[in-house]
């Protein structure tokens, strides 16, 4: 057979795809698999997830399988893997597996059960706090990136001032003045909302003065928020608010959105100039649809990475708060307050300190490694060839 003929016989039809038919996920997985540490991180991430959910099921309810708050004073500070002295316990008090897997604390509570309960707290705090911060970050970052070059007009500022002023006046008791300002403000707001561009242009020019851009407003807000030492800001807020796990989640979320905002803004600034955005606009796609359908999926990669690492730092922050006694209130176990209680007995019962400490270390490390691995896969520039 001549080379010509063999070429002919093996030639693909012209319409055969030129790139390998591999889905994005397969491709990601192939790249991700090469980073052993990241895979280990992901496995621990999954185990932690399962443990936390299993822990919630096992430790909650009226008569939990593993009761994290059952006090057995006669069995206090037993080291891990000790058999319980069944003679001194009533049948309901015996640990589920017939042994104290991770020992007991100074009140004879089962540390294993408490760690399971704490895992769920860490998980929810991590995810909810990061969820809040990512939502705020995407929203503000998206606005700054997409609409950032628009100016805030003087009348917008005056309007905001009027509305805030009105609210403050009502709050301090000057009802007539306050409601007057509020009514005026809302009327102007409605006017702006329903008027066309041309009619707004006919406003007196002194009111149309452009002050600063939306981008400036949002990014300076980010700078200001970054100036605060976050942990102390959280401490202050938590000291003022009633101690509850939900307040902690919200506060951590509200103080950690700045990084995401910067990421999303940067991504949007570059995506906005991409041809496919112009092409979408030429097809008659609206702004909102362009932002959420076309640009967001292209911008989630760095957000996902920072969210994964953000979960680790949220868990760490919550543990720190609980350690200082500002976190989740006492009967509920979290890794931070187990650690905090344990430090008083560090020489008599070192496992009370080391078990939650090592658990925090492993989980935070796993999230960080997983996040780094994701970053490497999603950002082609960091890929090793």
């Amino acid at each position: 057979m001549t080379p010509q003929a063999s070429y002919q016989s093996e030639a693909q039809p012209l319409d055969a795809p030129l790139a390998p038919q591999k889905s994005r996920w397969e491709e990601f997985w192939l790249l991700f698999k090469r980073n052993r540490l990241a895979v280990a991180g992901m496995v621990i991430f999954a185990l932690f997830f399962i443990t936390a959910i299993g822990g919630l099921l096992l430790t909650s309810g009226v008569d939990p399988v593993l009761d994290p708050s059952l006090v057995r004073l006669q069995e206090k500070m037993q080291p891990p893997l000790t058999q319980p002295n069944l003679d001194s316990l009533s049948p309901g008090q015996a640990p589920y597996l017939g042994t104290y897997l991770l020992g007991t604390d100074e009140l004879g509570r089962d540390v294993f059960a408490r760690m399971l309960q704490g895992a769920w707290v860490s998980l929810t705090v991590g995810f909810v706090a990061v969820g809040i911060s990512v939502l705020i970050g995407i929203f503000l970052g998206g606005i700054a990136g997409y609409y950032g070059q628009n100016h805030i007009r003087l009348d917008h500022l005056l309007l905001t001032g009027t509305l805030i002023g009105g609210a403050v006046m009502i709050a301090v008791g000057r009802i007539t003045w306050g409601s007057g300002l509020l009514v005026f403000g809302s009327a102007y707001l409605l006017f702006l909302f329903f008027q066309s561009q041309r009619q707004i242009e006919s406003l007196p020019p002194s009111i149309q003065i452009r002050t600063f851009t939306i981008d400036t407003l949002i990014m300076r807000l980010v700078d200001i928020m970054l100036c605060f030492p976050t942990f102390f800001l959280i401490l202050t807020v938590v000291a003022l608010l009633p101690a509850s796990i939900y307040n902690i989640m919200v506060v951590i979320g509200l103080t950690s959105w700045m990084g995401t905002t910067r990421f999303v803004r940067a991504e949007f600034l570059s995506l906005r100039e991409q041809d496919f955005v112009a092409a979408a606009r030429a097809l008659g796609v609206g702004d909102l649809r362009i932002i959420f359908r076309h640009m967001m999926p292209n911008a989630v990669a760095p957000v996902l990475v920072s969210a994964t690492i953000g979960i680790a730092s949220a868990i760490l922050t919550e543990a720190g708060l609980s350690f200082l006694g500002f976190g989740v209130p006492p009967p509920h176990a979290t890794w931070g307050n187990i650690l905090s209680d344990g430090q008083n007995y560090i020489f008599d019962a070192p496992w009370l300190t080391f078990i939650p400490g090592i658990a925090i270390l492993i989980v935070v490390l796993a999230f960080n490694l997983f996040g780094e691995g994701l970053r490497e896969v999603l950002n082609p520039k960091l890929r090793e060839r």
């Binding site: 039809p13 012209l14 319409d15 795809p17 030129l18 790139a19 038919q21 994005r24 070059q149 066309s196 561009q197 041309r198 991409q274 041809d275 496919f276 112009a278 092409a279 979408a280 606009r281 030429a282 097809l283 008659g284 796609v285 609206g286 649809r289 359908r293 076309h294 999926p297 292209n298």
Partner: protein
């Protein structure tokens, strides 16, 4: 008004304001007409305002820094400039569609091409998912993509450049627009694919009865596709006419320069002609005729007065009174 005229751009002026407040006159009084089912080419060097004038038809000029200072854009007898965003969105993609220069970056990398083609249909037509799918397959077959049904699930990176441009064309055609603006659709493609795409445009144009505004700097493409040609230089139209008129009897020194810088077989071995100098900075345009610093025929009036369009008959116009009077004197 002539019923046959689909789009009429009248004295359009688009300026871009720089940071120093100086206006950069990207498009400075451009007028052109496109009749139904006609292919019109807009030719000119990079930066002469071709793309800007096309983008302003769709209202896609970023404002600020861009600003449409004056003129009218009549589409089917209706001025597009005062329309609101929502009214504009109903026209974009629906009655006027655009094909962009870079097929490699004009498709969203994270969506399957089927979804991207269907998007425009979904926005402008109320039809169910199954009908959308059928329409997408039909479109892909129209633009010559084999095994269209499987290709709906392909991501842009799985297609070649030519295929992507075909997908872009399918997207543009999805709502049967009356006008397709093609902004250098073949510049990023190699010559064989370019020829296929040009042929495809011709076929589709006849099939769908649409007008095409074809923007290019490639005179070879112009001679292949255009019915009529507008030559742009520094934000103005310098010459317009039927394709044959422009290629056989170019009247403006700029058009002549362009045509004589084309390599041809008779010029083999000779040094190619090039127009001396370079395109003026749109913020500092010369007074008078914008071409006079580079023009071999420039006289004193060229430096003082903005030239008028001179009529050579049968729709052939050129913005060079000097050559016009010369010709008439010698005749």
């Amino acid at each position: 008004m002539n019923k046959n005229i689909l789009l009429s751009v009248d004295d359009l002026k688009v300026y871009f304001r720089g940071a120093d407040g100086r206006a950069s006159k990207a498009v400075d009084g451009v007028s052109y007409d496109i009749r139904r089912e006609e292919t019109v080419c807009l030719v000119g060097e990079s930066g002469c305002g071709k793309t800007v004038s096309a983008l302003s038809i769709l209202g896609l000029i970023p404002q600020p820094p861009g600003e449409i200072v004056g003129g009218r854009i009549l589409f089917d007898g209706r001025d597009l400039l005062p329309l609101t965003d929502e009214e504009m969105q109903r026209i974009r993609g629906n009655r006027v569609a655009m094909v962009f220069q870079e097929p490699l970056t004009s498709l969203n990398p994270v969506f399957k091409i089927g979804d991207q083609i269907a998007e425009s249909i979904r926005i402008h037509r109320k039809i169910d998912a199954d009908a959308q799918r059928q329409r997408c397959i039909q479109l892909l077959e129209d633009v010559g993509i084999a095994s269209a049904e499987e290709r709906l699930n392909a991501y842009p990176h799985q297609l070649s450049g030519g295929q992507r441009q075909r997908v872009m064309i399918a997207m543009a055609l999805s709502c049967n627009p009356e006008l397709v603006i093609a902004d250098e659709p073949t510049t990023a493609l190699d010559v064989t694919v370019q020829a296929q795409i040009l042929k495809l445009f011709k076929v589709l144009q006849q099939k769908h009865n649409m007008a095409v505004l074809y923007i290019t700097h490639d005179l070879g493409v112009v001679s292949a596709v255009a019915d009529r040609v507008y030559v742009m230089y520094a934000g103005i139209i310098v010459e317009q006419g039927q394709t044959a008129q422009i290629f056989r009897e170019p009247q403006h020194p700029y058009t002549r320069g362009l045509l004589s810088s084309l390599p041809t077989r008779s010029k083999r071995g000779q040094r190619l002609y090039s127009i001396a100098g370079s395109v003026p900075d749109p913020a500092h345009k010369p007074v008078g005729c914008p071409f006079h610093p580079r023009c071999p025929h420039a006289v004193q009036t060229c430096r003082e007065r903005f030239p008028k369009m001179c009529d050579y008959g049968k729709g052939h116009l050129a913005r060079c009174p000097v050559l016009y009077t010369n010709r008439n004197e010698t005749a």
